[in-house]
């Protein structure tokens, strides 16, 4: 009895005085209900040495703290802070304070006073810096509290004179993040003088420590980012920093100059050592251009990047960037580009080069030559031939952006871009080809330029070739020789790399439709028709011939005179190609032939609205119908699903929505059907066989819900809730069915517990959405949760069953934009009759080329599955680098799959298909506390299940037995 009483006394104590906890068995307490703060406190008290304390703190930091207990933890930490003598422990506590104040749902203003307080008594510089960091965290958490911000700024200013660079750094960071935006002082902050934050930060541009200088510039940039307008006077200060000894200072200064130039582009600044004045943006442009030849590549990258976004710069400055003013022996020399242009304009292209061809011409006035000019001279010439490819890529990007805004510049930079096609690094080549494509609206390629461009078609890299094909799709060619040249080179490419067939055809399609008049004079030659003689009919299956025809037919679309030049077999071939390659061959108005089906296409557009309406109406009809008799509901659902599917087929832009809704309705239908079964009433032992339908339905619903969740892009949270809800219902159904069929209670226990965990999980994940789910299955379930927790499995099953039957049909809100993920395997085509032969036990590489549409994050989700005839299936994870992103929503997977098997007696087919891997727990928001922890990374990589989303392709293989 006494013992019992004693225990009660302690129980009372544990609630009030934490000190007492130490005395009793702590282990037991922690097992029942762990209290973070208490445990921490105990640990810290136990710690005998600073190293111990540090260990405890580190352990403590691994687990998140709930918002409610943060304050308590903070108090304990602060208490220890005052007592602690070791700076490293104080440092850790300070950092923990910062982390804790970031916890969602915790308002850190209560700990601010303490933080400032301990700041004043702190001696260690590192701890000071960390405390300031904590204050920064607090300050950013409370962006609206003017008084606190003012106070923090005050603290920062006070510590700016500290001797340690770390402290000064943090102070500047604090000023940058919290420095007041408006001059107007609110009432509660009146006591403190308003400080001119910009002036204070600006003073530290000349600090003796480069790290502090950098921090000052960064703080200034931060002010700008927060919307504070920087003074123009900063410009001159920043210009001085461009010649700093340290690269990080220069790099930041370049950014600052860029910011100021964007703020005051039109103001006038004087040129030093002369009376002239220029616009600020031009001056800044010149200065940044100068930094392109800086000694540090980090600065060069930064400068090159920023050049691209300076669009207001005057055109003559811009054009200087491409002009290096060549000279040789003090005589002016023309660049190779100028010479090429001249040759071209004089009509004498492709002349052999002579010795002295580039002989310098006129004498240069020695005085006028400016070797290190202040201007932008040749900045891009330097940038494009830089040693580091990072700089070159940045320069190409900058060229692209500037050329997009200035057509005349685009014309000028063309030569340089074309030259970049020969860069040693593929990435740079690719980037310059893409750039060229982007600016292709502004330019027309000269023949000699086209020649260089086309030479790259022989590149062995597929990406380069395809990028080039895309570029050719949208370039303007000036002469018929140009078209001819392009065709010749493309055909050459085709013979060299037959796999490029599709891409080349597509390219010729656009080339033809863009230049009908240039193609017209080439037609007889291309078709090798003769005025008098009939020529042999070419082979219809020759890809090169098809390529020529694609060019011609597309040109003929806008050129009505062209078909007259066709010979008979051309018309026949047209009819064949129009059917077999309808996406490449347009409908032509041919003499004596009717235009079939062309009337259909223009009429589709006006239908769009009604069809959308139709979709809405049919869905609404379904949702309003929940109280009808089951038979009617089922029929209506069936009809609606059929309608939606058909609609999806007809209207490609509505396909995503229609499919999505149809899938949802199908789930509902399955659920209703399963619940409608008469056999539910039959006693369990008799039920056995018939249970198939219900359990199959449950399984199918599960599958469908996974598809809904992961196969559509653009699914929002509100849809996810409904989908999860549906899945929960399916799980309930599964549980009920198993309960009926399974013998014994033991397995049921486990299942019940698991199900209840799921419900709990659902509740935690979608706590915000629960109000929308009134009257639904889960709503009722949560009401009964306490009861379910304590009930026996049989009882749970019973409750679930009734609730499932009573549950209502949830309305599925339609997302704005929804697309179904799809994939097409282009290669292997599955047509080959020749088996891939390889020795058993060794591997054979199979090239897989597929296009993916609307797949989010394909790098981690898309897998390749290979199934062998013996039922063995392998899942292959393609490398992230195997995915290309040719356009928004589109991806291309080009990878190699390794096959291997034991010996077969005869060739057989394996199936290759693409899978979409999913993992439902990845949707759960992670807490900021454990970012970077080992736990989270594991969760992300694991795969919960997969959905096949492409047609499977059969590949004929033959593993031969190894010869001995």
């Amino acid at each position: 009895m006494a013992a019992h009483l004693k225990k009660r006394v302690y129980e009372e104590f544990t609630k009030v005085v934490q000190q007492q906890q130490e005395e009793i068995a702590t282990k037991k307490l922690r097992l029942t209900k762990p209290s973070k703060s208490a445990a921490l406190h105990i640990d810290l008290c136990k710690a005998t040495s600073p190293a111990d304390a540090l260990q405890y703190l580190l352990q403590f930091a691994r687990k998140p703290v709930e918002a409610e207990s943060v304050e308590g933890v903070v108090r304990i930490l602060l208490e220890h802070y005052y007592k602690e003598n070791d700076p490293s422990v104080r440092l850790k506590i300070a950092s923990l304070l910062g982390l804790l104040s970031k916890t969602a749902g915790f308002s850190p203003d209560c700990i601010m006073d303490d933080a400032i307080n301990i700041l004043q008594n702190e001696k260690s510089h590192q701890v000071l810096a960390q405390l300031l960091d904590t204050l920064l965290a607090i300050g950013t958490k409370l962006p609206d509290n003017q008084a606190i911000q003012m106070r923090l700024v005050d603290v920062a200013c006070k510590h700016l004179t500290d001797t340690s660079h770390g402290v000064r750094n943090k102070c500047l960071q604090l000023l940058g993040n919290l420095g007041s935006l408006e001059k107007s002082v609110t009432k509660d902050a009146e006591g403190l003088a308003v400080r001119d934050v910009q002036k204070i930060i600006g003073d530290y541009f000349s600090d003796q420590d480069p790290r502090v200088r950098t921090a000052a510039i960064k703080a200034m940039l931060q002010l700008h980012e927060r919307g504070l307008k920087l003074y123009q006077t900063i410009y001159t200060q920043a210009c001085k920093l461009l010649s700093d000894d340290y690269e990080q200072v220069r790099s930041a200064a370049v950014q600052l100059i860029w910011v100021v130039s964007q703020l005051y582009p039109e103001s006038i600044v004087p040129i030093p050592s002369s009376n002239e004045e220029i616009r600020l943006v031009d001056d800044a442009f010149g200065k940044i251009c100068h930094m392109v030849s800086d000694s540090s590549w980090v600065v060069r990258v930064q400068a090159s990047k920023l050049l691209g976004s300076m669009e207001q710069v005057s055109s003559h400055f811009l054009e200087q960037t491409l002009d290096k003013k060549l000279m040789s022996d003090l005589r002016r020399k023309r660049t190779a580009h100028e010479r090429a242009k001249e040759l071209y304009t004089s009509g004498e292209f492709s002349s052999g080069r002579k010795w002295g061809d580039d002989a310098p011409k006129e004498e240069v006035d020695t005085g006028a030559v400016n070797l290190i000019e202040s201007g932008a001279c040749g900045a891009f010439v330097h940038g494009l031939e830089d040693e580091m490819y990072e700089v070159r890529i940045a320069a190409v990007e900058a060229l692209c952006m500037l050329a997009q805004s200035s057509p005349s510049f685009a014309e000028k930079c063309l030569d340089f871009l074309v030259d970049m096609f020969n860069d040693e690094i593929e990435e740079v080549r690719l980037q310059s080809i893409h750039t060229m494509r982007k600016i292709s609206n502004n330019i027309t390629l000269r023949e000699d330029q086209l020649d260089t461009v086309l030479a790259v078609l022989e590149d062995s890299s597929r990406d380069i070739r395809e990028a080039l094909h895309e570029l050719l799709c949208c370039t303007n060619v000036s002469t018929k020789e140009g078209i001819h040249l392009a065709l010749v080179e493309l055909l050459k490419n085709l013979t060299k790399y037959p796999t490029d067939k599709d891409s080349i055809w597509k390219c010729l399609k656009f080339l033809g439709s863009r230049h009908p008049t240039l193609v017209l004079p080439l037609v007889p030659e291309l078709l090798s028709t003769h005025p008098f003689f009939d020529t042999a009919e070419p082979d219809m299956d020759d890809p090169a011939y098809i390529a020529v025809l694609v060019l011609i037919f597309n040109a003929a679309k806008t050129c009505p005179t062209m078909p007259a030049l066709f010979s008979d077999h051309t018309f026949r071939h047209y009819a064949y190609l129009r059917d077999s390659l309808s996406h490449l061959v347009p409908a032509l108005r041919l003499p004596g032939r009717k235009l079939v089906s062309s009337a259909l296409s223009p009429n589709i557009m006006p239908h769009e609205d009604p069809s959308h309406q139709f979709l809405q109406q049919s869905l609404e009809r379904v949702y309003s119908l929940q109280h009808l008799d089951p038979q009617g509901t089922q029929e209506l659902l069936e009809f609606t699903i059929r309608d939606l599917q058909r609609l999806g087929e007809l209207q490609s832009e509505l396909a995503g929505v229609a499919d999505f809704s149809a899938t949802y309705l199908r789930c509902q239908l399955l659920l209703i059907k399963a619940l409608q079964e008469k056999l539910w009433n039959v006693a369990a032992p008799l039920y056995l066989k018939q249970s198939d339908l219900a359990s199959a339905a449950a399984k199918q619903i599960m599958e469908e819900t996974y598809k809904m969740e992961f196969m559509y892009s653009g699914v929002e949270n509100k849809q996810v809730v409904i989908i999860h809800h549906m899945r929960l219902q399916a799980k309930a159904l599964q549980l009920i069915v198993t309960a009926r069929t399974a013998r014994g209670v033991d397995p049921l226990f486990g299942m019940c517990e698991k199900f209840l965990q799921e419900v709990d999980f659902f509740q935690r994940c979608f706590i915000a959405d629960l109000p929308h789910l009134q009257d639904s299955f889960v709503d009722k379930l949560l009401d009964l949760m306490p009861r379910l927790m304590t009930s026996k499995p049989a009882e749970v099953v019973k409750i679930l069953h009734t609730m499932l039957r009573q549950s209502t049909f949830l309305h599925l809100p339609l997302p704005e934009q929804i697309h179904k993920a799809s994939a097409t395997i282009i290669e292997p085509a599955g047509e080959s009759d020749n088996p891939l032969r390889f020795t058993s036990g060794l591997v054979v590489a199979l090239d897989v080329d597929a296009t993916l549409e609307h797949v989010q994050d394909p790098q981690s989700t898309v897998k390749v599955q290979v199934s062998y005839p013996d039922g063995q299936a392998q899942m292959i994870h393609p490398k992230p680098a195997d995915f290309r992103n040719p356009g928004p929503g589109r991806h291309r997977l080009i990878t190699q799959v390794y096959l291997s098997h034991t010996a077969w007696t005869e060739p057989c087919q394996v199936e290759v298909r693409l899978l979409l891997a999913y993992n439902s727990s990845s949707r759960i928001p992670k807490s900021p506390w454990i970012e970077g922890g080992e736990m989270s990374s594991q969760v992300e990589t694991s795969i919960e299940g997969t959905i096949p989303f492409s047609k499977s392709v059969k590949v004929y293989i033959m593993p031969k037995p190894a010869r001995r």
């Binding site: 004179t161 001797t163 000349s206 003796q208 000894d245 030849s293 000694s295 290096k324 003013k325 060549l326 000279m327 040789s328 022996d329 003090l330 020399k333 660049t335 190779a336 580009h337 080069r353 002579k354 010795w355 002295g356 020695t366 070797l371 290190i372 040749g378 494009l384 031939e385 830089d386 040693e387 580091m388 490819y389 340089f416 030259d419 020969n422 860069d423 040693e424 690094i425 260089t452 030479a455 022989e458 590149d459 062995s460 065709l487 010749v488 055909l491 050459k492 013979t495 060299k496 030659e525 291309l526 090798s528 042999a536 070419p538 082979d539 020759d542 090169a544 011939y545 390529a547 020529v548």
Partner: protein, 622 residues
Amino acid sequence: MPEIRVTPLGAGQDVGRSCILVSIAGKNVMLDCGMHMGFSDDRRFPDFSYITRSGRLTDFLDCVIISHFHLDHCGALPYFSEMVGYDGPIYMTQPTQAICPILLEDYRKIAVDKKGEANFFTSQMIKDCMKKVVAVHLHQTVQVDDELEIKAYYAGHVLGAAMFQIKVGSESVVYTGDYNMTPDRHLGAAWIDKCRPNLLITESTYATTIRDSKRCRERDFLKKVHETVERGGKLWARWPGGAARGSSRAGLPPPLQVLIPVFALGRAQELCILLETFWERMDLKAPIYFSTGLTEKANHYYKLFIPWTNQKIRKTFVQRNMFEFKHIKAFDRAFADSPGPMVVFATPGMLHAGQSLQIFRKWAGNEKNMVIMPGYCVQGTVGHKILSGQRKLEMEGRQVLEVKMQVEYMSFSAHADAKGIMQLVGQAEPENVLLVHGEAKKMEFLKQKIEQEFRVSCYMPANGETVTLPTSPSIPVGISLGLLKREMAQGLLPDAKKPRLLHGTLIMKDSNFRLVSSEQALKELGLAEHQLRFTCRVHLHDTRKEQETAVRVYSHLKSVLKDHCVQHLPDGSVTVESILIQAAAHSEDPGTKVLLVSWTYQDEELGSYLTSLLKKGLPQAS
């Protein structure tokens, strides 16, 4: 007055035979030790007798530094060390150390075996000479002795080329050797930090040239080679249907070949890389050959020194070493007659003899063939003749060779152009610049530009001419912590921008300098403190008594010197801080009072101020 003296023994207003003597703070360093291509008599080597007429050079030189392995920078090394006699250290980078003996051996063979020169250095001498070499790494500071230190920077140009910083105390000189500011296919660009040397000695080969972008050059080169090699497969303007295909094959032109005579080691590698990557990219099949011998041997070392190459090669060498050529094979004499397209690199570069000339004679007759000259050709060589457009060449034996093949010229030079030189000067921020390795006329232009743009003085001495630069070396002085703290406590934080006045005693003891407080200095030196007082008499016209005058002086000073402690002592004297003022009557003129002002040396400022104040007289008492 300390000074830096520079005397070029070669490469002063000239190209070739680089050899520059630098004496800096009493240390003598020789930069490069090259030979001259243009001479085969004594003038080909620098005149080492300038350094000393008798005895070994070791006593006069502290070290020798070789910037890179080209013969005009290292050709005289065995002669210098073995025949003239030098045993001190020779510094060079590791690639230079590896490749240099190959070139020297080759040079020796040509001179001795082919030209039959006597009294030339032997193979053994080359080996002995190389034993004296100390290898340095990039950015490694090497202590030659206690005071002299050298440091290598990357210079581009050829594998292993380096710029050297020579530093004694706070004085330093940077020597660039040959360098390249634009990266090429196998090397990066030269780089130096803001080391602010007293003197920058830079090459100026292209002092008056600004070069075109290297990309045009490369593109041109590749296009020419590619076109020639591929000409056989020219596609018709029709799909290659049955008949057309057959005819095009039947009409395949005869073998097409490209000959590229190369000379300089380094250029050959660059072109090889260029072609190799292009072949790889374009999936070409035609074979590329390069002549065995020198290039092949050197190539072996190129494979090993990957850290010295450019970004691309460094990044990809794990997958594949770019110098392990897939498409480039060693050339055999028999290949020249084999059919089919091919590209051949052959030496020498000016087509004046050897393999390149043999191949040229074989191929010259076909107009579809091509020869590409990648460098400069000396007048009189076959190379120069064909470049200047001559089509009929007279060969030995009165044979006339008609040149039908295409002749192309392409300059692949790895020197910095005028802009590059300026860029390097800007990066290093030297106090003075000295130009070498260039023609006088061109240097003149660059000199003027450098003086104008950077406002530093620029020199261009001729061979044997000495340039003397006065320097003002900064001398480090140690300060005692106590003194520093005491001084800091008096004022605000030290500001980097403003000089501060500090009182202390400078102790110079066994060539180190210390700044200590005067008390400590006295203690250390065991000296007693002497007081130094200044006294001054000021005559005042005052008829009143001494005491009254003293009171007047007191009240006057009190009103003027508000923030000083002014006291009137009971004995009638006035003190301002430690300055004593006593009033006495003038012995002769009673109307005049004499004020005796006395102050210590430390209070000189205040004391002299007081006297001047008192000399102005006292204000009239109201």
